[in-house]
């Protein structure tokens, strides 16, 4: 049980930054909170609503996302879109993600040989 908790904690830490990256990439097409949550979870990027909504607001505050209220439907919804700064950051994060992946792959290969 304790091991499960430790595993869960480490997984959460490992995934934390990837949710930011996923949002920045996914929101190059504007979308609202719940639709984003659904689509990320459908892709296997598991994220909780209580994490995602505050995250969106934080990214907006940092100027990485812009938002706009859509009042066409009965329920007004806040649509988020990745800003140019956000796109730049996404590129940087993605490059780093690939570099880490290569490095880890190198480590694993080293183990096997």
């Amino acid at each position: 049980m304790n091991t499960d908790e430790t595993t869960a904690g480490h997984l959460q830490e490992l995934r934390r930054g990837t949710v930011v990256l996923a949002c920045l990439v996914r929101l190059r097409t504007p979308d609202y909170g719940y639709a984003l949550l659904e689509s990320l979870n459908a892709l296997g990027i598991l994220v909780d609503a209580n994490t995602l909504y505050p995250l969106l607001r934080r990214l907006e505050k940092q100027g990485l996302l812009t938002s706009e209220w859509n009042t066409d439907e009965a329920r007004p919804r806040k649509f988020y879109r990745t800003s140019p700064t956000g796109v730049e950051l996404a590129d940087t994060l993605m490059t780093d993600w690939r570099r880490i992946d290569d490095a880890l792959a190198g480590l694993t290969d080293g183990d096997e040989s």
Partner: protein, 325 residues
Amino acid sequence: MTANTLTDRYVWAAARSVPEAQRDELERELRERIGDASDALVEQGRTPADAEHAALTALGDPAALAAEYVGRPLQLIGPRYFLVWWRLLKFLLAVVLPIAVAAVTLGQLLSGADVDEVIGSAVAGAFSIAVHLGFWTTLVFAILERTPAAAGQRGIDLEWKPEMLPQIAEDGRTNRLVDLVASLVLLGIFGVLLVMQQFGLPWVDALSSMPLLDPALWSFWLPYFLVLIVLEAAFAVAVYLRGWTWGLAGANLVLGAAWVVPGLWLYATGQLFNPAALEAVGWPWGDAGEVIAPIAVVVVIAGAAWDVIEGFIKAARSQQRITAA
């Protein structure tokens, strides 16, 4: 459906604790979020009321949500100030509390209170001073925690530097702890004796209800000696904390002189002892008085001188250790 749905109540509870300017935005965001979450649950076959309830449960306490929304801390004192708060509190409790309790006790003694009354007010005073120190210190830091620091500033917390590392407690410190405890106990006993003798010395028959020292000394000299005892106690703590230094050895000289000079002067001018008490014990004891009195004076002077010299020797030794290290 009642006029106010659970959603209305939730939104109101969350919005009322955020600043006016952010309220509308938060309300709209929350309604979108709750609506979307309940709709999804209804699609899975839940009743609307049930879905709304579940969506709100998942959101959690509205006060916590609002606090996160505006970035308000949910702890009294966070990691930024905790260590500064903790160090200051320990310092105040270690320094202010004993001094204040000593002052309360001294005041009670001077006003001639009973021993149990003195102990009672010392304990009550210590408790209330400790509570005040804790409360006000914590209040100030809780306010600081909620005061945003100017951009690029760290607030009042000091940047930690390696120079702030404590000295490793050398063996000297354990020895000094023994010295400290011994000094404090002796000073305490001496202080109590100084006060108690006013009511007589129960173990000497002739003096069982008669002050040994001249009661006229209460007008100045006995309070003076009681203050000296408090200073000596503070001095003993300083020696324990910092080890013997030249400065402390000098202070020891001053303190020693502050005891011995007035004490001998009072004795020499016949003001020290209560004449009635001397008479009661039949002083001077024949020819013995002529011998005992000078010996006592020499012993007091020699003892005081040795204490002063010992202070300088210890200071010299610890300076040597520092240079050698």
